[in-house]
């Protein structure tokens, strides 16, 4: 049972995407697509034929599989509703999770470059720039939670007896939220709803993909988003997770609630903010880094 928690992330992540889109549409006074639209999109894409660029090498074909597999592997390591086995085979190390995701990102950027179009290269270059800027704040925020619980094993961090209500954790959560926005390509950083050449990051890399490959890439993207939400919940607000005195049913309820709150926060940020110019991103992500640095200092100062 503990080893199959990742199925929740894999199956429900398109729904989370649908919920975010629906909330955004309602906030903007539109009716919006149905909640299950991402599922319909994926199902249709899986049935479609693919168009492969003439310049593409084997990397173009390998990238969707590597991206999908890396995100799936990373979500196997995360305790979603239960810390019982601390992830698959008890591995569950946060640093392993983050850098498994980085492997997927590396191949995503390679796939964008391999198609041989200008926009793909542009998207890859921007993606790697953002990745460099996000990584310090993300890791520092994670390390705050890790230091507070004395382990980088996420099963221990989220497990019973861990401290999670302190100023340090709130600051780290704020920094981690900004990092999630940047990682999932949401509005102050990237606009997920447009294919405008000047702004796109994630869409730029996927421009040459179609059919089954595009479906895998998109699904991996939804899964990564939900995986990061789950990580945020595990690291900074693990209250209600099974294995710390709650049953599985209650834990699933708590998890769904936390996911809904994070989806709502994401939709709120996207509806109220404007897209930033790319060269202003270092200010935003620098602020996130300072937040996470402050959270670490605060933890050292207050000792909790």
């Amino acid at each position: 049972m503990n080893n199959f928690q990742f199925v929740l992330i894999a199956l429900l992540s398109p729904l989370a995407q649908g919920i975010i889109k629906k909330i955004k549409a309602l906030m903007q006074g539109r009716v919006g697509a149905p909640l299950l639209q991402p599922y319909y999109d994926l199902a249709r894409l899986f049935r479609k034929d693919m168009v492969i660029p003439r310049t593409a090498s084997w990397i173009f074909h390998a990238a969707p599989y590597v991206v999908f597999a890396s995100v799936l592997t990373a979500s196997m390591l995360v305790p979603v509703v239960s810390t019982g086995g601390a992830g698959l085979f008890g591995i569950g190390d946060i640093i392993a999770i983050i850098y498994t995701l980085a492997l997927g990102r590396f191949f995503l950027a390679l796939g964008g470059l391999d198609a041989g179009t200008a926009f793909g290269g542009e998207g890859s270059s921007r993606e790697m720039t953002v990745a460099i800027l996000v990584e310090p704040s993300m890791m520092l925020a994670i390390f705050t939670a890790a230091v507070a619980s004395g382990s980088t094993n996420i099963g221990k961090v989220a497990g019973p007896g861990s401290v999670f209500f302190s100023p340090a954790h709130v600051l780290a959560l704020a920094a981690f939220f900004v990092a999630i926005i940047a990682e999932t390509g949401r509005i102050p950083v990237d606009n997920p709803d447009t294919h405008l050449e000047l702004t796109m990051i994630h869409e730029g890399m996927l421009l040459e993909y179609s059919g089954k490959y595009l479906a895998m890439m998109e699904w991996a993207h939804y899964m990564k988003q939900m995986l990061l939400f789950t990580l945020a919940a595990d690291l900074f607000f693990p209250y209600g997770i099974s294995g710390a005195g709650f049953g599985i049913a209650a834990a699933v309820g708590f998890w769904a609630g936390k996911m809904l709150i994070l989806c709502f926060g994401m939709a709120f940020v996207e509806s109220t903010r404007a897209k930033m110019r790319f060269f202003q991103l270092p200010s935003l992500l620098g602020a996130a880094f300072v937040l996470s640095a402050l959270s670490m200092i605060t933890f050292i100062m207050t000792g909790k």
Binding site: F165, S166, P167, S283, V290, I297, I300
Partner: protein, 220 residues
């Protein structure tokens, strides 16, 4: 003890860290309205801290001090400064002397220096044990803001934030002086803000611009 939740949930830490955040945020904010809002939040949090302390220590005179702080620093001074900003038609800060990412890094280095140098030597018991470190960080960061910013209005806000930091430092050491002294300090700050407001208008009237760097180019 019914009041234990103040310590258990480290309410004072939350409030003071919130104050520190607003001061750090000042370094990345460009719009005058946002800077003023940061100052307002900072003052409201200061008043909240005093109210919580009054509740925790059963000290009725601290409630009065909290109310006066809220009224003067949280309402009157921000409104006054907003009126000045609107009258002088200043909306944005020009690019500061040190760019935003670097100044954010410098602020966090300042906080590290304060925390590490105060971690031994000074021991304060009780529920405000961490407040002194935060308040001295606030003082240094707002001093840094005053150095890097070019417009006179932001420098005034920096000065007021610094005063909040000093107030916090004094408060964490003494748990509030007698009401007369508190009232006197608040009155001083209020007068200072009014005088600075008039001063800003005069600078604007005489030199057209509020960018203080340009004052150095004047030759007698």
């Amino acid at each position: 003890m019914p009041k234990a939740w103040v310590v258990v949930y480290s309410i004072t830490d939350f409030i003071t860290i919130g104050m520190l955040l607003t001061v750090v945020a000042m370094n990345s904010l460009k719009r005058m309205e946002s800077c003023l809002r940061a100052y307002t939040i900072n003052s409201i949090l200061l008043a909240a801290l005093m109210a919580v302390s009054a509740f925790y220590l059963d000290a009725a005179h601290l409630y009065i001090a909290a109310a006066v702080t809220l009224a003067s620093k949280g309402v009157v001074i921000p409104l006054l400064l907003r009126k000045v900003v609107r009258d002088l038609k200043i909306t944005h800060e020009v690019e500061p002397n040190i760019n935003t990412p670097l100044s954010l890094v410098i602020t966090s280095v300042l906080v590290v220096i304060v925390y590490s140098s105060l971690s031994k030597g000074i021991f304060i018991e009780g529920f405000t044990e961490n407040t002194l470190k935060v308040s001295i960080s606030i003082i240094l960061i707002s001093l840094f803001t005053m150095i890097t910013r070019k417009k006179a209005v932001t420098q005034v806000i920096g000065l007021l934030l610094m005063e909040n930091g000093l107030f916090l430092a004094g408060f964490s050491l003494t748990y509030g002086m007698s009401t007369i002294i508190e009232l006197g300090v608040v009155f001083d700050v209020l007068m200072g803000a009014i005088i600075l407001g008039v001063f800003l208008s005069q600078i604007k009237k005489t030199f057209i611009d509020l960018d203080l760097d340009k004052l150095t180019t004047l030759k007698g």
